[in-house]
Structure formats: C-alpha cells, structure tokens
C-alpha cells in the first residue's frame, strides 16, 4: 500500500518520437513507431521500435559514459523541461536528498558488443569504459553527474519489470528517509544480444507484433528512455502512485506460470485497499507472445468482474524491455490527462478464447485509475496503480 506520492513532470522518448507530445500524437493517430530494420545491419530480420539518436552527443565532460543507453537517456532528459524540473527539485529538497532509481536490463551492452568486435589478443580496445557503459549502474552514475545530484541511487534490473520495480524501491526509500524525493524511470536500448537472444527463444516476430491477436507470434523489441519525479503529495489534483504490487512466479525462467497466480498476486497487491471496480483501464504487459497474452488475459478476466477496458500499447513502441514499464507509466499519465483509452494496435483479430474486455478502438472515457502490468524473466511480476485519489 502506498500513500501520498505524486508523479510529476514525466518525460518519455520512444520510437514514437521525442517527448510526450510526440507520444500522444502517435497514440491518437494510431500510428505505430515500429520499422523494419536489421539493427546495425547485423541483427535478425524483424521490426524494431528504433529511436533515431545519431545527432545526440553527451556533454564533453561526460564522454566516458558514451554508449547507446546513455545517449538515449540524454536525449530523453532534454525533452519536456525535465532538466529544469530537476533543478527546481534540487532547490526544494537539496541535491543530496533526491534519489535516483532507474530500471535497466541492457545498460550499455551495445557498447560492449562493439568492443568485442574489436577484441585483440583478448583485450578490449582502448576506448572501452566498462564501468561507464556496460555496468548496470552506469545510467545512475551518468544521471547523478549530469544533473549534479549527490543522493542515493541504484539500478533495478529485473528484466522486463525493471522500471516498474524501480517505483517500489523508490517508494520505500522515500518512506524510510533514505531520500525525500526521487527521479524514477527506465532506459533500455537496442543491441544484438537481445535481438538474437529473443530470436533463439523463438519469440521474436518477423512482422510488427500483434498483441492479443489470434495470429500473434512474438515480440517486436523497442528502446526507450523515460523519467518522472516521485514526490510527497502536496496537490489533491495530482496524479499519484497509488500502489505497487510485486510477486514471483516461482515457475520458469522464461515462460509465465500458466494459471496466472503470480500476475494476479501482483495486481491484488497493487490495489491494496482500493476497490477493484475503481480501476478504469488496465495497460497490459501484452508482449504478443502466445504464452504471455493468454495468461495475462486469464488473470485479468478472473480478477476484474466489472470488465474494465484493457489494451496493450506495444504495437506502438515495441517492447522496450527494462524500459517497458516507464513507457507504459507515462502513457498512463497521458491517458489520464486526455481521457482516451488507446486500443491494442495491430490486433488484427482478437484471440477468440480471450475473456477480458479488450479495447479495439481508441475510446474516450472518464478515467481516474489505471493499472499497469509488467512481467519479466525469472517470473518477476510488478503492477502499478496510478491515478487520482
């Protein structure tokens, strides 16, 4: 159970574009950000949620941090006045009292791949900086130095639930005085390991992913960076983090437990004392793998008798892995702002066995509370309840 933390000043950059306005424009226009690409000419044939970042350079004094993941973070930081918002937060709380909690699964892995391509006598090339690129903490280190913040920081790395779990860790840190406010978010970037890895698991689609579809055959991988300020509540009208639910499947490393008990447990915990029928919309993890979508539909239909509309938005952005949850959290905030539920894009024909109330057309609706689900390898489940008190 959470109480009294608001979500302020979100920013998101994804395959839909740079910043929040670009995200909403694409959601409203039902325009996918996926593109057919062989990543760096070396990846498998697939569709990617690619973020063009060729123009982005890190500040000169931080160039040792150069890697795709940190460039993507830098790009996202520059949108939506986020840096100014952080500077204002430093004035309010003090630079040593702002925590940083970032979900990442890939970190600077793409940089490591480039280094391996130039391995010589088992040594990395001179330009490779392990701690500032590959190491999962690198994104936190980069943000501390870039934003001149000196408080507690940690990377949360639980595969595809990473940036949802980051909210749990951040909430506990604020509650127990480790910090007074927090930058929470996620950054994951495209690399050959994830593309060929998911390909090896036979869950990488060669077409744009079709979540919830009878014909779904796997994921489209995306990249994204998003951040939000998590702060003690001061304004009744603010969007709040109302609950974080966390569970483990204890079943399999890469397949969901088929009865959905882990997924149900995370959703129930996120709701806490809030009524189930106060949930107006559920943003599904909805990766478009045969297994995930079936188990999630079962779990959602089982728990929510009032049949709220549900959808997956991964047809727009692809699956941004460790950053998927922050993508969908910021989407949730935009949905609350605009009061329109996005459909499951690319769902050409809803799986006829599904029982939940799947949104297949963008739907204007009064929305006060949103539940957002994320499920990662190792059976790591996390649900976030977001909205108005």
């Amino acid at each position: 159970m959470i109480s009294g933390l608001t979500l302020n000043k979100p920013t998101l950059t994804s395959a839909l574009g740079r910043g929040n306005a670009a995200q909403w424009q694409a959601l409203e226009a039902e325009k996918s950000g996926l593109s057919a690409k062989k990543f760096e000419g070396l990846g498998p044939n697939t569709w990617l949620g690619y973020v063009d970042q060729a123009d982005i350079k890190l500040p000169a004094h931080l160039k040792s941090f150069d890697c795709r993941n940190n460039r993507l973070a830098e790009l996202a930081l520059r949108q939506d006045g986020f840096i100014a918002a952080v500077e204002a937060a430093i004035q309010t709380y003090g630079k040593s009292r702002i925590g940083i909690f970032i979900g990442t699964s890939t970190s600077g892995l793409q940089q490591t791949e480039l280094a391996y391509a130039q391995l010589h006598e088992d040594k990395f090339p001179d330009w490779f900086r392990y701690a500032h690129s590959q190491n999962p903490f690198s994104i936190c280190d980069y943000l501390q130095k870039r934003l001149e913040i000196t408080g507690h920081a940690v990377a949360v790395s639980t595969a595809c639930s990473s940036s949802a779990k980051a909210f749990g860790v951040a909430t506990r840190a604020i509650r127990h005085g480790i910090c007074d406010a927090a930058i929470v978010g996620g950054v994951d970037s495209l690399c050959l390991n994830t593309l060929w890895g998911f390909n090896a698991l036979q869950v990488l689609s060669q077409q744009p992913c079709r979540p919830m579809s009878k014909h779904r055959n796997g994921i489209s991988i995306g990249e994204a960076a998003g951040f939000v300020l998590l702060e003690p509540a001061d304004d009744e009208g603010s969007i709040r983090l109302l609950g974080v639910g966390e569970s483990a499947d204890a079943h399999h490393m890469s397949a969901p437990e088929p009865s959905g008990r882990g997924a149900r447990s995370a959703m129930v915990q996120a709701l806490g004392d809030y009524a189930f029928d106060s949930v107006d919309y559920i943003n599904l993890h909805g990766t478009a793998t045969p297994a995930n979508d079936a188990v999630e539909d079962l779990a959602v239909a089982d728990l929510f008798a009032h049949q709220p509309l549900v959808s997956s938005t991964k047809g727009w952005t692809g699956h941004a892995l460790g950053a998927a949850s922050i993508v969908e959290l910021v989407f949730g905030m935009l949905i609350l702002q605009h009061q329109v539920i996005p459909k499951t894009l690319n769902c050409d024909q809803l799986d006829p066995g599904f029982q939940a109330n799947h949104c297949l057309h963008n739907t204007p609706q009064k929305i006060r509370r949103i539940l957002s689900n994320s499920y990662g390898f190792g059976g790591n489940n996390c649900s976030l309840l977001v909205g108005f008190e």
């Binding site: 498998p44 040593s96 699964s105 490591t112 791949e113 280094a115 391996y116 391509a117 088992d122 040594k123 990395f124 490779f128 900086r129 392990y130 701690a131 190491n135 999962p136 903490f137 936190c140 501390q144 913040i149 000196t150 408080g151 507690h152 920081a153 940690v154 990377a155 949360v156 790395s157 639980t158 595969a159 779990k165 749990g168 860790v169 506990r172 840190a173 127990h176 005085g177 480790i178 050959l192 390991n193 060929w196 890895g197 390909n199 090896a200 698991l201 036979q202 966390e246 569970s247 483990a248 499947d249 204890a250 079943h251 399999h252 490393m253 890469s254 390898f377 190792g378 059976g379 790591n380």
Partner: protein
C-alpha cells in the same frame, strides 16, 4: 531503519560457510586462502543445475548456508551484484560476433541480472517479491538499504550480494580476482531471537577494512560486508561502514 539479523551465509575462497568463517572472522583462527569449490545445489534437478551460471551458484551457496541455520518460508528476496555474470556475458558476446544465429536461449535468459533470483524462487517455491539491484561501488549498501526497508515494514527478507571474478577482457577494468557472496536473513527489529539488531544512518566517514582478512575487500566489492560480519562473528557491539554512491556513506550500527 532497523532490523533483526536472523542468520548469515557466506561463500568465498577460504570462507566457504558461516560455520567455517566465524572463527576466522572473530580472529580465533588465521585465514588461509583456498579455492572455493564449485557449488552443487540439491535444490534443483540436474538438468536445471547444469544451466546455472557461476553467479547463480555463488548466490545459492551463500543463501543455502544462511537458511540452513534458520529454515524459513515466506520471505522477500533482495539480490545485488556489482556486475552480474561476466563469464556468461563473455560467451554470449563472442557468439554474437562469430555466429549470432547460434546464440543459446539458455545463455540468453541467464544473462538477465535477476537470473539468480529467478532460479532461487523456482528452487524454493517462494512467491513473495524478488528484487535485483546493481548499486555500483555502493552495491552492498544498496542491497542492505532495500532489505532493511522491507524488514522495517514487518517482513522477513533474504538479502544477498555476489560477484564473480572477471574473465580475461574485463580483468583490467574490473580487477576482481576472488569470487565472493554473502547472504543474511533479516526480520523486523521486534523479532524474538536472532544474532542481533542492525540500524543504519548516513555518515561522512569512509569504509574501513576489516581486521581478519586485511585488504580482501579491495578484491571484490561484495566483500564490503566483512567488517559487519566480523562484528556479528564476535558478537560485539560496533559499527561498520559501507560505501554509498552519493555524497554520504552508510553506517551500520550492530548490537548483539
């Protein structure tokens, strides 16, 4: 924040269980470095055991050691590593460069930071939350802070940190030359019995190396737990510092 320490576990060269380590850490027996044998868990069937990475084996050894002293159910897990499994990463990257279509699906699902935690939950059937953290030079402090937050809220928590040695290309920039893993079972401070209470505050003082294995902490970030473990081994009231990632470090005050 404060918590009761309900049990400890350790896996490191010359320290391959708490029962063995306690005399060394309390100074009654000298430390003798000896290679850590490859761990074989009984908690997973052979075909799953074969798939474990070295990081996962290290984490299992320390956690099983910890729980052997205090069998427990219904606990949250907080696992943390400075760099996760580098041998698996090395193998994956070499495959990516040479023949990417032949990437092993097992190697890929083993490459996520929370693979050890995932295997642990499968082996034990534990379904409470599992969090995996990477805290850089403050990795040990990060693990303890999150675990103590959960314990302060009334939970039992199995916390562990583990780091493997660096494979060839990484050794220059990450000179960890010994494997190290530790684990603790924490509970609410009000718990009836245990090994003592730990409280945490910030400090401007720096990490101070332990006395039983001088200089060991410089060889693996996870070994920063040693000064606290020495206090527990000696059942001695005292303080241990762990490096923080911000301006402040973290002071853990222990009382048996």
């Amino acid at each position: 924040m404060k918590a009761q320490i309900l049990s400890m576990g350790i896996a490191a060269p010359g320290l391959n269980s708490w029962q063995h380590a306690v005399e060394i850490l309390s100074g009654t027996r000298p430390y003798i470095e000896a290679a850590l044998p490859k761990y074989r868990t009984e908690k997973l069937p052979p075909n799953e055991r074969r798939r474990m990475t070295e990081s996962t084996r290290l984490a299992f050894q320390a956690c099983e050691d910890c729980l052997s002293r205090n069998p427990c159910r219904d606990y949250h897990t907080v696992f943390a590593s400075y760099s996760n499994d580098l041998a698996n990463l090395d193998s994956l990257c070499r495959t990516i460069i040479r023949n990417p279509a032949s990437v092993s699906p097992t190697a890929f699902h083993n490459s996520v930071a929370n693979a050890p935690a995932g295997y642990w939950s499968i082996a034990t059937g534990e379904q409470m939350s599992a969090t995996t953290l990477c805290g850089g030079d403050g990795n040990v402090a990060c693990a303890l802070l999150e675990a103590m937050a959960l314990a302060t809220e009334g939970n039992q928590v199995l916390v562990a940190a583990y780091d493997v040695i660096s494979p060839g290309p990484f050794i220059d920039q990450r000179p960890f030359d010994v494997p190290f893993a530790w684990s603790m079972l924490l509970g609410p401070a009000s718990a009836d019995s245990g090994f003592g209470e730990v409280k945490v505050t910030t400090t401007n003082d720096d990490f101070v190396t332990g006395t039983a294995l001088p200089g060991f902490e410089a060889r693996n970030q996870a070994a920063e737990i040693l000064p606290l473990f020495e206090l527990i081994a000696r059942r001695k009231t005292g303080q241990a510092i762990c490096t923080g990632v911000g301006a402040a470090n973290w002071l853990f005050a222990y009382q048996p």
